[in-house]
């Protein structure tokens, strides 16, 4: 049996809301987003974050968006977004500057509501890939939680044995279904290759035939 590489997206997507914005830009803070907030001007362009804005009276949209009705939540195209490499300020190009992907805020501040949401892991603990070879076992924790124990990343063995624990939340008494579903994946040399997502809270993805039983991962 070949090794399988099991991905667990442990952290839920960080998100920060900005209501009644009077500027064409927002800046994430560490109180409401993950700490630290990501730096790097290419972070958004590389799919790390998404920005949605609720269409309101007086907002102007580029042609890419059509004519959103007031109250519609619209995802801003990354081409219109710039991300300051150090301050983390997120700016949307105005519709005047980018007639296709731009957006111009309403002169009325209460019509400008933003939400910035994390799309990809970037911090320690956001997600891990484990080698199935080092799955030591799984055990019932509660009727809705199953623990997966892996050889620790620290490499400690023997007298200083160290275990990394992934906890799967699932439907009531679904531990056996989860365990069997996971071992089916690990044992499948024909259909499974490379990285396989077992559960990813950030993207709301769970292993294919077990979406009814997995609720979250920690």
């Amino acid at each position: 049996m070949r090794d399988k590489y099991l991905y667990f997206g442990v952290g839920a997507a960080a998100s920060e809301s900005f209501t009644d914005q009077t500027a064409q830009a927002v800046t994430l803070n560490t109180s409401n987003f993950d700490d630290p907030t990501p730096d790097g001007e290419n972070f958004i362009a590389n799919g790390g974050l998404k920005v949605t804005i609720t269409s309101g009276a007086g907002t102007t949209w580029g042609s890419h968006y059509g004519s959103p009705v007031d109250g519609a939540v619209v995802e801003i195209h990354p081409n219109a977004l710039t991300y300051h490499a150090t301050s983390g300020a997120i700016t949307v190009a105005t519709e005047g500057a980018d007639a296709v992907y731009g957006w111009t805020k309403s002169a009325t501040g209460t019509e400008n509501d933003w939400v910035v949401t994390q799309l990809k892991p970037y911090l320690s603990g956001n997600g891990y890939v484990y080698n199935s070879r080092y799955l030591r076992g799984m055990n019932f924790q509660t009727s809705t939680k199953t623990e997966l124990h892996f050889q620790g990343k620290s490499g400690d063995m023997g007298a200083t044995d160290d275990v990394d624990t992934i906890t799967i939340s699932h439907g009531d008494d679904k531990h056996k279904e989860f365990m069997q579903g996971l071992t089916d994946i690990i044992a499948d040399d024909k259909a499974v290759s490379g990285m396989v997502v077992i559960a990813d809270d950030m993207r709301g993805v769970v292993m294919p035939h077990d979406d009814a039983s997995i609720a979250s991962v920690a």
Binding site: Y5, D39, L123, N131, S154, D164
Partner: protein, 111 residues
């Protein structure tokens, strides 16, 4: 088949101690993003190359911002490949040969 994973740092040629590293793929335990400040580093953890049961060997891959998940997918795909000689280049910085287009640098701590 024994699969091995090759890494090198930026020194070209790789002609000094700790310039290059070959690890048995079976010793790969886990990997994940680490706190780099701008989401551009992912660390791989292996059983100790020195057969020290109280430590680990780590390889840190530097990559484009926010691309940790993409890099992990690419590294897993590389590790799942089956070259005839079992030799898999994950990150050969000295020769700009990477298994993922997003990786730009490689560092490791051998213990």
């Amino acid at each position: 088949m024994v699969k091995t994973l090759y890494f090198s740092i930026g020194n070209d040629p790789s002609d000094a101690a700790s310039d290059a590293l070959l690890l048995n793929a079976a010793n790969f335990i886990a990997m994940g993003p680490i706190d780099s400040g701008n989401g551009n580093q992912t660390r791989m953890y292996f059983l100790s190359n020195d057969n020290d049961e109280a430590s680990e060997t780590t390889v840190t891959l530097t990559h484009a911002e926010g691309r940790s998940l993409d890099v992990m997918e690419d590294v897993c795909e590389a590790m799942a490949s089956e070259p005839k000689d079992g030799f898999i280049v994950v990150a050969d910085e000295a020769n700009s040969d990477f298994c993922s287009p997003y990786i730009t640098e490689c560092d490791f701590v051998v213990s």
